[in-house]
Amino acid sequence: MTDLPTPRDRTRSAVLQGARDSGLVILAYIPFGIALGATLATSGVDPWLVVSSSVLIFAGASQLAGIQLLGAGAGIALVVLTVAVVNARHLLYSASLQPHLAEWPRGLRLLGAFLLADPVYALAAARFERPGGAGSRHEQYGYYFAAGITCLIGWTGLTAAGVFVGSLVPDSVPLGLAVPLTFLLLLLPLVKDSAGAVAAVVGGIAALLASGLPLGLATLVGAAVGLVAGGVVIRASGTPANSNPDPEASDA
């Protein structure tokens, strides 16, 4: 390491890393994306609208729920309410990334918010919370936007493939576990202490127990129970979570 990388090299490497991390998630999403597109192609909603929902909403579970309701003749209010409830978890992502993005210019924060889907949040949080931090501002932009845009384009492409040619894909190779495994692998770097582990396990079991709830509420209920359980561990141990990046938090 005699030749130190220039800031430009480091930014380029952050962009490549973001695109690569996100590209892998998209690979793992192939079965889900195609199945979702193929299912929604039979919903009665215009195929191009289904594809555009991947850009506009960019959150698979809510697209599936909302468009199926729309195809079944539900009113706009119910569809929008369903999408809002299924996607309410993004409020937590927004709050969680706020300390990391606080110094970004507002325009980039607002653009970043557009890309804040589950995998993009998980990749960004893991990167921004790692011990050395996320590097310079340009490295942060490079990683975040490369990951976000790769994910947006990949997800939209997969949905389109599912809508237009999904019915041609044989389902002889079982791939259904790829998405839960991907979320497990996105989750692991974010678990840094016992409080995080308790939040993940308790939240997961609570979501499973709540799976009978309507409107996709199970994930929200699970997340809330997990947050409380992890919070109890933090309180019991009497120390803030060690991954908290904000020095101000110590005087809270």
Binding site: D21, L24, D46, S52, L56, Q63, L70, I76, V79, V80, V83, R89, L91, L92, Y93, S94, P99, A102, R109, L110, G112, A113, Y121, A122, A126, P174, L175, G176, L177, A178, V179, P180, L181, T182, F183, L184, L186, G196, A197, A199, A200, V201, V202, G203, G204, I205, A207, S211, A218, T219, G222, A223, V225, G226, L227, I234, P240, S243, N244, E248
Partner: protein
């Protein structure tokens, strides 16, 4: 047309949920919850991943849950051994899943 409006509004509400704490530096999560924010990722992603691993077809059964749990354990172990390479974890997880599905099928349990 109504379908297009519904999807557009779905996009707007989703964007609001994503942007709410990023719009202004003044809109911040309350100070009291700040120390709990690092739990958001584990809690939400756990709530997404765990049901898919414990009840892959929507319900818990020996023939589907055991292979999925083995796959999750393999993915975790491989990810750790491979210095946190996600791709290694994913390939190992899917490999173990397929192998155990095949084994269960061969033994007549699946």
């Amino acid at each position: 047309m109504l379908d297009a409006i519904a999807i557009l509004l779905g996009g707007v509400v989703t964007y609001i949920t994503r942007a709410i704490f990023l719009v202004s530096r003044r809109v911040r999560p309350p100070r009291a919850v700040k120390r709990y924010l690092p739990l958001v990722g584990p809690a939400v992603l756990g709530a997404i991943a765990v049901p898919g691993l414990l009840a892959p077809g929507g319900e818990i059964s020996l023939a589907t849950t055991v292979p999925a749990v083995l796959a999750g354990a393999a993915a975790w172990g491989a990810w750790r051994l491979a210095r946190r390479q996600m791709v290694v974890g994913l390939v190992a997880g899917l490999g173990v899943w397929w192998a155990s599905l095949w084994l269960f099928h061969t033994l007549g349990w699946g």
